[in-house]
Symmetry: none
Subunit: 221 residues, 2 copies
DNA sequence: TTGCAGATTAAGCAAAAATTAAGTTAGACT
DNA sequence: AGTCTAACTTAATTTTTGCTTAATCTGCAA
């Protein structure tokens, strides 16, 4: 995971950089607002730690500009001042979190982890009474294990990850089968069929719905 | 969006409930930990505001238990104490955010919005009490789902996108059916009919008007 | 009142999806 | 290596869905 630190005080920068590197994050740095913005947009950064007071461009403006381009990049403000008004301003500008100096490194670390939590660390996903465990490649219906093959598992995982969103056939073939050209056999149907059978999904318990002409969608009932 | 507030002090509860209802959130409440946990798991909640000190079960245990079942449900702690250690504990237990009492309502609101930011928006369109969600291919009338076929959905989407503008038959056939030559069967009429029926559009609730000799227009009343 | 545009309805039909079975491949075991 | 088995893919068949057509009905306007 790649973190960009934008901070002009060398002491704090070194402290952060060293601490986070020890936690196995990849670190990039910038010491003024303009440079920070540039790097945030150009590098493939996963999270930004952003000082409030910066040379060249205020932190809040950097934040706003990042948001214009990257809507999902988490931004955490580091601020010396602690006025409520500033906090609110920062959040409105698109920051995801806010931490007051002096802060404990441990707290910062936890807050950083929050933003990565959803990404990949969670190994179990659920859909209704179905639970899948990525780390063990196991599937359960009402706590009872059901044996799925690898493809079946991957397809189910994909649907659950995108719970509530329609998965088009094209996307499924691309993301689950990794086929990047026009492709149409009945593979998806066949797997969908066997998943439904194994998981006991009937017309009444329709956790996976077919969207005719489009694809499929997983949904709690 | 549905928020569950778990808080035992009546004053704070009322303050939160009222304030958030004014912002058009749907609110459920619980006054002790056990009840809070139960509701968090049973109701279709989108976010939890969780007090730290609670009767029956401490907030942090409620948090841990929610996390076991629902990995993606955002939890914000409300806490009177402000020790760093507690904050860290809360975050480790799976909370997504942490706000210290007394807090400004505005800050709380911003923090809540952060968690909804990525979610919906953009994909939903509305016309009166009708809402359509493109990402789910779903249609709601007064929050209750109505099943439309794909063509019906596309036609409705087209009308809502052009809300307030007249859609001529020619344009509809071109843009929705993708037919680029002179064409006249009753297809549009047939679909308009079934849409109106499914959405309960009567002469009185005429969200979609017929412009005789021209086409149709969608309009809030 | 008559004619025309639109609304309504029902039926035929074609496309999509579900299902089943058979063929193919890859990995495990002897 | 050869055989066996499990998993994946393809293909063929059946079922379902919903789009379209066409025929009829309704109501407004000349």
């Amino acid at each position: 995971m790649h973190i960009l630190i934008v901070e002009d005080e060398k002491g704090i920068m070194d402290f952060l950089k060293q601490g986070l590197e020890e936690e196995n994050f990849t670190i990039s740095t910038a010491t003024d607002g303009a440079e920070g913005l540039k790097k945030a947009l150009e590098l493939s950064v996963d999270l930004v730690l952003l000082d409030w007071m910066l040379p060249k461009m205020q932190g809040i403006d950097v934040c706003r500009n990042i948001r214009l381009e990257k809507q999902n990049l988490p931004i955490i403000f580091l601020t010396a001042k602690d006025t409520v008004q500033e906090t609110i301003e920062g959040l409105k500008a698109g920051a995801n979190d806010y931490i007051k100096k002096p802060f404990s490194f441990e707290e910062l670390l936890e807050r950083i982890k929050i933003h990565f939590r959803s990404k990949d660390e969670i190994t179990t996903l659920t859909l209704g009474n179905i639970t899948i465990d990525k780390s063990q490649y196991k599937t359960f219906v009402d706590q009872k294990e059901v044996i799925l093959t690898q493809r079946e598992f991957e397809l189910l995982e994909y649907l659950i990850k995108n719970k509530g969103k329609v998965c088009t056939r094209t996307h499924i073939i691309e993301d689950v089968w990794d086929i990047h050209f026009d492709y149409d056999t009945g593979v998806i149907d066949v797997f969908m069929n066997s998943i439904r059978k194994k998981l006991n999904l009937t017309k009444e318990r329709e956790l996976i719905k077919t969207i005719r002409g489009v694809g499929y969608i997983a949904n709690e009932i």
